[in-house]
Amino acid sequence: MLIESGSPIAADTKVEIGLTINGEARRLQVAPWTTLLDLLREQLDLTGTKKGCDHGQCGACTVLVNGTRVNSCLALAVMKDGAEITTVEGLAKLSGGNGLHPLQEAFVEHDAFQCGYCTPGQLCSAAGVLAEGHARTRDEIREAMSGNICRCGAYTNIVDAIEDVIQSGAQG
């Protein structure tokens, strides 16, 4: 069912929305209570984006919506109709090169993960931090990344990696 402004869509109805996901325009049928996170993982098999706490506290589900980092677990997919979504699967393409995104290269270089579960969220959040342009110093990077928990405790290396990319001037 297509959404018409002002017209209620009954609770048991699936609605048609359009999203551009990692550069690919898609038409999708979603129930109104589907979060963007569940849409990506359960309906589209884009399982790079992780479900950690599902309450906006851990940051594992961070994606870019129209270039801005948000917690996809707290976003209803139906409300993002028309948006451009970038997940970790599309991050490399976002940087325009053929290889990895500079942040991905830096995370490998600086060993900025152990188990890797939080890494997609860390990478998307860091890409958001670069785009925002407010973080320069290590203190500022740490504060800007405080919405991403790493239970392995790779924080020092994560900050090293992001600092490296910021200092290199790569914007991804």
């Binding site: 209620p8 609770a11 979060t35 906006g56 917690n71 209803l76 139906v78 958001g128 990344m145 405080s146």
Partner: protein, 337 residues
């Protein structure tokens, strides 16, 4: 999450009508609090009215002051050059709260209307008069380390969790709302309410009214301000005690001063009598201590949060010192200046 009708509003009128005609309908914008509460079954709206398409996201000049649209995100407000230059206490308070991801999604109107983070409010298995009126209060005599020390009732000792609103209280902002009975303007101090016998009501807003904007006054106290936030960890934690302080000095004499506290009451807490003790006095620790003593003399702590009384007293003195000295608390370097 419960099932709900979904309405996308194209105009403010459509939004107000859709909420008025839906059973237990709620407006939704950023969703960072409402979707979370729905996952805990604390909120079970029959209808969500999506207001994100409404043209309410602008930050505009108005009579020498700023009008912040209800849909301006917390990030948009905090990093707006005019807010940073003229109302830095507001920018600082917003940046002291939540995370980058949440501030990118959360809106000004939603921040005003966010619910308490009281554990009992969030836990369906416990009594809570705010969640289920008449069921009792688990926090009174329970785990209440984070709870209120001012303005509580025997029904509820929850706090309002916002940082932004504490700064807005010190700035004396107003909230412009509209609904079926038309537009009205509510002073920030009257927007949130004390729990009394109706803790389920956080604000004086009617269920069918929508927030249009937060209007700032012309005076932003850019020279002498601070937002000092004390919490259990250095980032992404709610305040145990916070203080937004603004001041105008004539030499070393206090010409104007206001301060509001967060994390200690059901609303941003001000004490006009205590603020009055500052006027015309030298900007010294003794002056600030007299005002702080007056504020905490009215505190009514509970079984586990007595520490907040002394913490609040010291935080007020320190915040007023920071404001007077023109050395506001940094929100990235967490050392308390």
């Amino acid at each position: 999450m419960n099932r709900f009708d979904y309405v996308r509003a194209g105009t403010v009128e459509e939004a107000v009508q859709a909420v008025a005609s839906g059973a237990n309908a709620r407006f939704i914008a950023g969703g960072t609090n409402l979707v979370d509460l729905m996952k805990y079954n604390v909120e079970r709206p029959g209808r969500l009215v999506d207001i994100t398409r409404l043209p309410l996201d602008r930050i505009e000049e108005r009579d020498g002051a700023l009008r912040i649209g209800a849909l301006a995100t917390n990030a948009a407000v905090a990093y707006d050059e005019r807010v940073k230059d003229r109302y830095p206490v507001l920018s600082s308070a917003i940046l002291a709260g939540a995370t980058g991801q949440l501030r990118n999604a959360a809106t000004t109107g939603g921040n005003l209307l966010q619910r308490t983070r009281c554990y009992y409010f969030y836990d369906e298995g416990t009594p809570c008069n705010k969640r289920l009126p008449g069921s009792g209060c688990g926090a009174i005599g329970g785990v209440n380390r984070i709870h209120a020390i001012f303005g509580t009732s025997d029904k509820c000792i929850a706090t309002h969790p916002s940082d932004m609103c504490v700064a807005l209280a010190a700035l004396e902002a107003t909230v412009r709302v509209t609904g079926p009975s038309g537009e009205r303007t509510i002073p920030l101090a009257e927007f949130h309410r004390l729990p009394g016998d109706e803790p389920e009501r956080d604000t004086t807003l009617s269920a069918d009214e929508i927030v249009l904007s937060v209007d700032l006054p012309a005076e932003g106290f850019a020279g002498h301000y601070t937002y000092l936030k004390l919490r259990d960890r250095l980032s992404y934690a709610f305040a145990l005690v916070s203080v937004a302080a603004v001041m105008e000095l004539d030499g070393q004499t206090i010409k104007a001063a206001r301060f509001a506290l967060g994390g200690v009451a059901h609303k941003p807490w001000r004490n006009p009598e205590a603020e009055g003790l500052l006027l015309g006095k030298p900007a010294t620790r003794e002056t600030f201590a007299a005002a702080a003593d007056r504020v905490v003399s009215e505190a009514t702590p509970h079984s586990e949060n007595g520490f907040k009384v002394e913490l609040a007293r010291r935080a007020i003195v320190r915040a007023l010192e920071q404001a007077a000295a023109g050395t506001p608390q940094s929100q990235t370097d967490k050392r308390i200046a």
